[in-house]
């Protein structure tokens, strides 16, 4: 265990014990236990004392022990909390959002298996010509489109293989090398906001909104987030071009992948297209996106296009991570912990826009240093209780703050530790952290401002 992890272990255990020993006014017994779990989880996640997906399972396990009818605490005769069956907590592992993401993972991994991602890249990059600045925009656009449906990390890794030959042919002092290396993770993170399956923080937010009775259709999310993704992509492109003006005007792109035409590959193309179509038209046919998500899983596995080995290699730990975040939100809400935590601040005095600014800024800052999913998991339960306290209005307010948190979490890209795509770009050795810090900070701040502008001018008109 590293020193940091050991500090986290000690602080986490202390955090767990404090609510058990102390009595907080106005907080039920269940709320105290929920606080123990919240503090333990927050610290373990922040210090990565144990792997973050392991903390997620620990959350679920602790909730079962301390907050369920099958647990060790007897709540009969105590007011303020009605314990649920333990199935409520382990059920998060099969939450509809988890199933949606499972479908997305199968599509993404199958696309990688049949080189569909590489071939799509080659086709989509073709119209962008040879000039350095337009190629950069092309790379960013393709990265964003792919990362909206695949994991940001896999998309970045694939695009890095595309740019390594490009960069190798450039002069070693050419600033465009830095610009091109940075444009990939930035575009991947930005593209991830465009669809519900683009990145895990979206999952935690949507699931939390569902908890409150608010459903967000696949196409509706895209309507809210896609314009922002497009604008931010152009902003990031311009920021990088200005900070790192290319020394050479021409760049040659040589992608030699061949479109696979085997039966399995063709089935994948068809399945991918149909699934995305069904997702985006949810408003028309009414079939929930989680149900549609099972379609590619069934089709690709029954045809053996996606094999047992492929199933085993799916990123199951990300599903656990999401489930833990969802579960934490459940107990924070129904034990009254979340409202107790936010009750200390006079939120009623703040205008609703100020509430959004606070949550947006805190999310952006935290997720630069923490996993984006963990940041969203810790903040969304607190944000949603503000609705009941009146600082935000009803379902509209919930949706607004949910979007602010989800989108701001993805705009956190100032350091290699901020997101895995950033780390991959830094490993190429082509850029220094200070380059990432500067452009990432500028883009993050612009992103936050745009999110808030959308909250005032765009979303109220289309929700």
């Amino acid at each position: 265990m590293t020193k940091t992890q050991r500090v986290g272990l000690i602080l986490g255990v202390i955090g767990f014990i404090i609510p058990i020993l102390l009595d907080f006014q106005g907080l039920s017994l269940a709320g105290h236990f929920a606080m123990s779990i919240f503090l333990l989880a927050a610290v373990f996640w922040m210090f990565e004392t144990i792997p973050i997906y392991s903390t997620s399972i620990l959350v679920i396990f602790s909730q079962i022990l301390l907050l369920s009818t099958e647990g060790i605490i007897d709540y009969s005769g105590l007011a303020g909390y009605e314990p649920q069956s333990y199935t409520q907590f382990i059920g998060t592992l099969a939450n509809p959002i988890i199933i949606l993401f499972l479908g997305g993972f199968v599509l993404a991994d199958a696309s990688v298996k049949y080189d569909f991602d590489k071939n799509l890249t080659r086709i989509l990059l073709a119209p962008f010509g040879n000039r350095t600045s337009t190629i950069m925009l092309g790379l960013m656009a393709v990265t964003a489109v792919l990362s909206a449906f695949m994991s940001n990390t896999a998309t970045t890794a694939m695009m890095i293989t595309v740019i390594i030959p490009i960069i190798a042919k450039m002069e070693s002092g050419d600033p465009a090398r830095i610009g091109i290396a940075l444009c990939i993770p930035f575009a991947a993170n930005i593209g991830g906001i465009a669809t519900p399956i683009g990145t895990p923080p979206n999952a935690v937010v949507i699931a939390a909104l569902n908890q409150q009775g608010l459903t967000v259709a696949f196409g509706s999310w895209m309507m809210y987030a896609l314009p922002l993704a497009v604008i931010m992509l152009l902003v990031a492109w311009q920021v990088l071009l200005r900070l790192h003006p290319p020394a050479t005007n021409q760049v040659s792109l040589d992608l030699d992948t061949k479109l696979q035409t085997s039966g399995h590959a063709i089935l994948l193309y068809f399945t991918f297209g149909t699934t995305v179509l069904l997702w985006v038209t949810e408003g028309i046919h009414g079939i929930k996106s989680s149900i549609v998500a099972l379609f590619p899983v069934v089709v690709l596995t029954l045809s053996s296009a996606f094999s047992k080995q492929d199933i085993r290699k799916l990123p199951w730990e990300v599903l656990w991570l999401i489930a833990g975040g969802i579960a934490l939100g459940i107990s924070m809400e129904n034990t009254g912990l979340a409202s107790w935590l936010v009750g200390g601040i006079a939120w009623g005095d703040l205008s609703s826009i100020m509430v959004l600014v606070v949550f947006g800024a805190v999310t952006l800052i935290m997720s630069n240093f923490l996993s984006n999913t963990v940041t969203a998991s810790l903040l969304i339960p607190l944000a949603l209780t503000l609705v009941t306290s009146g600082a935000l209005e009803g379902t509209f307010g919930m949706l607004l703050v949910g979007l602010v948190i989800a989108l701001s979490a993805s705009f956190a890209m100032i350091l290699p530790i901020s997101t895995p795509p950033n780390a991959i770009a830094e490993s190429t050795g082509v850029l220094k952290t200070k380059h990432m810090l500067l452009s990432g900070t500028i883009i993050g701040i612009i992103g936050l401002v745009l999110v808030l502008l959308l909250s005032v001018f765009y979303w109220p008109n289309i929700i």
């Binding site: 994991s151 890794a157 890095i160 390594i164 895995p420 780390a423 991959i424 050795g429």
Partner: protein, 166 residues
Amino acid sequence: MKHRIYIFVVEDEPEVLDAIVRDLEEFEDSFFIEMADSAEEARELISAITDDGHEIGLILCDHVLPGENGVELLVEMQHNPSTERTRKVLITGQAGLDETVRAVNEANLSHYIAKPWEKAELVGTARKLLTDYVLEQTENPMEFMSVLDGERIADFIRKGKSITDN
């Protein structure tokens, strides 16, 4: 203590040893380079390294050495679990066909570099074999992306085998 990966060079002529190590200097930041001038010294150093929990990723070995010869050393390393996965290269002008066949069949020889060697061949071979080793044996090959074959490592990550979104 952090787990280290070593490149090991066994060569009895000092000028040749220096030349090999100099050609490998671009790998110095990420890998430890250790040297020996005989098979016996090599065996001791290798034991010390693996006993400390580190790994030998690549060994470049001359064949004609004082005492035991290079092919014998490589065969022995192949039979030792802690050096079985080490990528083994003969760098020599004087191994006959029989010994070379033995190295291929019983030491899982990865590459044969004939002396005098071209720096490009040596560096290219080292890069390829170290990339093979790192992709096979390490949890997080990403840290080697700038020194080894970046495209292969990035493609490995793309296939989801080490890091994912979080």
